[in-house]
């Protein structure tokens, strides 16, 4: 291993003149850059959290909606012995149901039908609002 002792005799180099100054000026530049990046990331984080808060407030207070889980819980509750009728949910908004109608079969020629007039009369005031599946 005598040859390897020569490793210590290998030519060595030194830092160039003005190295310290260059490092310090580089340091101040890097500090400024880091401050800029920190400000940018803080403002981005602020904007993101504001958007998140707005979304949460919107969903909780402005757009309340009953989930299917809530309805299922209510049905369970109504079967329990301590249930009171006042706890029943209020009738919800009317759900319009549209049905496709084939008018080709509904409208017939007047000449083939007897001249009868049908009067449609309302027979009950109650409107069924619950939908049963």
């Amino acid at each position: 291993m005598d040859e390897l002792n020569l490793l210590q005799k290998l030519r060595s180099v030194k830092a160039p003149p003005g190295f310290e100054k260059r490092v310090l000026s580089h340091l101040s530049l890097r500090k400024k850059k880091r401050a800029r990046v920190r400000n940018l990331s803080l403002s981005l984080a602020g904007a993101f959290s504001a958007a998140l808060v707005f979304f949460i407030v919107l969903n909780i207070f402005i757009l309340p909606e009953k989930s299917p889980v809530g309805i299922a819980d209510f049905e369970k509750k109504s079967l329990s012995p301590g249930y009171r009728a006042e706890e029943a949910p209020q009738p919800g908004p009317t759900i319009p149901i549209t049905e496709a109608v084939d008018y080709g079969e509904e409208v017939r020629s007047l000449s083939q039908e007897p001249r009868t007039i049908y009067l449609l009369e309302k027979v009950s005031d109650e409107v069924s609002s619950t939908i049963k599946y």
């Binding site: 291993m1 040859e3 390897l4 002792n5 020569l6 490793l7 210590q8 005799k9 290998l10 030519r11 060595s12 180099v13 030194k14 830092a15 160039p16 190295f19 310290e20 260059r22 490092v23 310090l24 580089h26 340091l27 890097r30 880091r34």
Partner: protein, 192 residues
């Protein structure tokens, strides 16, 4: 002033203490990185980056190990990354490289013996995995335990790498000297 005290001051953001650390380590780190990379300009750039990291990551330094080991850890990590990166982009035709080499690159150091030149060439051809531990051990004078700490590798691995690296260097030196001998013998034969 004590190095640990300087580090504490750097942790508080003191630039004067940082300048002091740069002053102490600049030549050692530039030399170490030059021996690893073989490129002075690159060594200077990597040294600058090493000191930047020393300043900005000073809070991560734990005084369980010597400060010098920590600085060398940063420097060797940067060197490894740089060498991996440069190996990726090293696909340049040899002719182009030869045509763009500065004249000083060909000029040999007059005080340098042939053995040292061969040793440097062998060192440059050694894989960084072995080159870095060998340089840390035989040039910088760190103990094997310290090198294991610097390179974050098990002690056994470091011992094996140092041993393999040395074996490789020895073989390369033997090869180079036998070539030189045969060349000299040829010259003598031709001279008559």
């Amino acid at each position: 002033m004590d190095e640990q005290e300087l580090v504490r001051q750097i942790q508080d953001g003191d630039e004067m203490a940082f300048a002091e650390i740069v002053k102490i380590y600049k030549n050692k780190i530039v030399n170490f990185l030059w021996k690893i990379t073989g490129d002075y300009q690159k060594a200077v750039e990597l040294s600058q980056e090493t000191f930047m990291r020393v300043y900005f990551k000073a809070n991560k330094y734990k005084p369980v190990a010597p400060f010098s080991s920590w600085v060398y850890t940063i420097a060797s990590n940067l060197a490894k990354t740089e060498m991996k990166r440069s190996r990726k982009f090293a696909a340049v035709p040899l002719d182009d490289v030869q045509n763009h080499l500065p004249m000083e690159a060909y000029a040999s150091n007059p005080t340098d013996s042939g053995l040292l030149t061969n040793l440097r060439e062998a060192l440059n051809s050694l894989h960084p995995r072995y080159r870095i531990p060998v340089i840390l051990k035989d040039v910088e004078g760190f103990s094997q335990e310290e090198i294991a700490q610097i390179l974050k590798s098990p002690l056994g691995t470091i011992k094996a790498r140092i041993s393999r690296g040395r074996d490789y260097l020895k073989k390369e030196l033997e090869k180079a000297s036998s070539k030189e001998n045969s060349f000299a013998m040829n010259e003598e034969y031709q001279d008559g």
